[in-house]
């Protein structure tokens, strides 16, 4: 029988969210004997539930509660109510993610020092560095079974990769391979190998891709120390007169407000919901929201400089066959200001099915310029661009008091304007991406605008000093000792790499810290 903790049990750690941050933290704490209640807003879906159908799966897994948008990003115009494509389910966005598992480059931990001051950017060095993170990355790579690490073979390249690789090599790129992927290339960790099915974004029906939903979560539950409460939508974090948090108010599956007491609260609801919850928890003692003495809660929202390049050839590619993102060019990931921007970017293979291609190739586009592209869908290849974007104070999550969710809570408004550095980097990446495909004979190429964000970062950022950010080097809020942030919102800067491996490494490290401090009686 599943473990169940009492609402009045004030010795539990309450983790809000069960994705790469919260799901891993919950399991790691449970393994160490700490009692954990994980509140998950969504339901539980496992490989047998996932569907190989883009829109049906989107309806099953995506976070579709209302949000609003503003700013000059095209997402605000084309998908005004959907700033992000992330998941509301046990396991969070690890059900949807592509599996790319890259470490930060050493210099990316020190963005301000490396890049210098950039006008309009709120750059800061992380209070931790590559050397400190190395052992935690080792543990994260082992946990996720990352290919091209720990003796795991790389995934075989699919058609989309073979086109990409040939173009990359023709251009002289050297760092080209099927990538470090948290997708099994062979039987590992009781999960089977990738069957090249496609539909990585819709949840892996083979379980070949690592997801917290069917690894960390059930393993944590098996210890008897973890209770995952599904359809539990956190509403407010409460505190006592001493300024320590006392627990979490949440709406249960029937819409009734409950209060779970807690010794420690760890927030891992992704970079929109985590700051929203801190802001919605404002009180007379903390009128600007919890942990917000710096005024940085919700600010410095980053989403990676992204975009895509699709290309049409005179012969079939069938890019949808096989692993969605197993292919990378890393030559442009370096910091080389001679290109006209600071930071760097990765180019990664990407395929969408016909339904999503119609929605995302050129949102709002119509007429023959648009439809002749889809006519050659079978002959299309595609890649995604992911690069470091600049943190800006004005890119931020705020409460929209004019719009309320199903529980009557103000929703998050997400404001984003591109920084000139983001634009310069994107234009460079569009040119290089198109050149890759032209080198293999593309007859037409498409510099496709960013999709609703999947990498949401920075809205509760980590800083050495309390004045500069929300959390310290352990993800512990500067203002409240027993309140932690455990998701991508603690990122000081975004680096060029897909963030999940770093979120997992930080969560393993944070669990170690919390358990140690609890034992020492400090928490």
């Amino acid at each position: 029988m599943a473990t169940s903790f009492d609402l009045d049990d004030d010795n539990v750690v309450v983790v809000i969210g069960t994705g790469a941050g919260g799901g891993v933290l919950a399991n790691e704490l449970a393994q160490k004997g700490v009692h954990v209640v994980a509140l998950e807003a969504g339901g539980r879906y496992l490989p047998e539930d996932y569907v190989n159908d883009e829109w049906e799966s989107f309806g099953q897994l995506a976070w579709l509660d209302p949000r609003t948008t503003s700013g000059d990003w095209r997402v605000a115009r084309d998908f005004s109510g959907l700033p992000a494509w992330i998941v509301k389910a046990v396991g969070g966005t690890t059900t949807h993610w592509a599996g790319a598992s890259l470490r930060f480059q050493d210099h990316e931990w020190k963005a301000l020092t490396t890049y210098g001051r950039v006008q309009g950017a709120n750059l800061l060095d992380w209070p931790i560095d590559a050397e400190e993170m190395d052992p935690w990355y080792d543990l994260a790579e082992k946990k996720l079974g990352v290919t091209l690490t720990n003796g795991h073979a790389g995934l075989p390249g699919n058609n989309n990769y073979l086109v990409f690789e040939k173009g990359a090599k023709a251009l002289g790129y050297k760092e080209v391979n099927t990538g470090r992927m948290a997708i099994n290339s062979e039987w590992n960790d009781d999960r089977m190998a990738c069957q090249q099915t496609g539909f990585c974004f819709q949840g892996c029906k083979w379980g070949a891709k690592w997801s917290a939903a069917y690894t960390d979560i059930p393993r944590g539950e098996a210890t008897g120390n973890l209770e995952v409460r599904e359809h539990a939508h956190a509403a407010r974090i409460l505190h006592d007169d001493a300024g320590k948090v006392t627990g979490v108010e949440y709406f249960d599956r029937d819409g009734n407000l409950q209060f779970q007491r807690a010794r420690i609260v760890a927030l891992a609801g992704n970079s929109f919901e985590s700051p929203r919850l801190l802001l919605n928890s404002a009180s007379s003692m903390f009128p600007d929201g919890l942990a917000n003495s710096s005024g940085q809660v919700g600010r410095n929202y980053m989403r990676h400089m992204t975009g895509s390049v699709y290309a049409i050839f005179d012969k079939p590619v069938k890019m949808w066959r096989g692993t969605t993102m197993a292919g990378i060019i890393q030559d442009e990931a370096r910091h080389d200001p001679s290109r006209g921007f600071v930071g760097g970017y990765e180019l990664e293979t990407l395929a969408l099915g016909l339904p999503f291609m119609a929605a995302f190739l050129d949102p709002g586009g119509w007429g023959r310029e648009f439809t002749t592209a889809l006519d050659h869908y079978e002959n299309m290849a595609g890649m995604w661009i992911v690069g470091e974007d600049m943190p800006q104070e004005t890119n931020r999550v705020t409460l929209n008091h004019d719009v309320h969710d199903q529980h009557g809570l103000p929703v998050a408004n997400v404001h984003f304007d591109d920084h000139p550095n983001d634009i310069a980097m994107r234009n460079h990446a569009y040119r290089q991406g198109q050149a890759v495909y032209q080198a293999v004979g593309a007859t037409r190429t498409f510099p496709t605008p960013p999709y609703p964000s999947t990498h949401n970062l920075g809205t509760n950022r980590m800083s050495e000093h309390a004045r500069d950010g929300v959390v310290n080097r352990w993800g512990q809020t500067h203002d409240i000792a027993n309140l932690f942030v455990s998701d991508g919102s603690q990122f000081t800067t975004g680096a060029a790499e897909n963030p999940t491996l770093t979120i997992v490494a930080l969560a393993i490290r944070q669990a170690d810290h919390i358990a140690r401090e609890m034992s020492a009686g400090n928490l």
Partner: protein, 174 residues
């Protein structure tokens, strides 16, 4: 929900005897539109048949795929034949016809060249009606499983064991 009727349900003779008007694209009768060769027919209950015929033409002009038959566009827009949507659609199509008349045509369906119809649509593309129809087509047309094979898209693959042994790396022209 209205439905597309097969020729068995509505004979060619019934169809043609009921026809009151015909454009190059559609036979338009009392309460239905149909393919001129009776390959398909759609009964309408809330919209005027001319309105539905114009809507189908508009849908093809927004997302023209010459290899995709009218029946798929019909399926994509037939949901507009409802009590809730009828007023909005009739008003939108009236505006479309008025725009065509302003350019010297009898109606939108009377405009022979696609480029002339597209000019009319461009002039109204910011309108709520146009954006509703266009946005609805993104899923209404491209999320029809029957359309996917026309574009070569294979859809679900898990039940076939994925592409591990079915050509995930079968490209032969590089």
């Amino acid at each position: 929900m209205t439905k597309t009727a097969s020729p068995r349900e509505m004979t060619r003779r019934q169809l043609l005897s009921g026809t009151v008007a015909a454009s190059a694209s559609f036979a338009i009768g009392a309460g239905f539109i149909a393919a001129p060769d009776a390959a398909w027919a759609l009964e309408v209950t809330h919209l005027k048949p001319e309105t539905m015929a114009t809507l189908v033409r508009m849908a093809r002009d927004i997302y023209p795929h010459d290899q995709v038959g009218d029946e798929y566009y019909v399926i994509a827009v037939r949901g507009y034949d409802s009590a809730e949507m009828a007023e909005m659609v009739e008003a939108g199509i009236s505006a479309l016809d008025a725009a065509a008349q302003g350019r010297g045509f009898d109606s939108y369906l009377d405009v022979g060249w696609e480029r002339d119809r597209v000019d009319i649509l461009r002039a109204m593309e910011e309108s709520h009606f146009f954006q509703t129809v266009r946005g609805g087509l993104v899923t209404g047309l491209y999320n029809q499983k029957a359309v996917w094979p026309i574009f070569g898209y294979e859809g679900e693959s898990y039940s076939e064991g994925g592409y591990m042994d079915r050509g995930f790396n079968d490209i032969n022209w590089l």
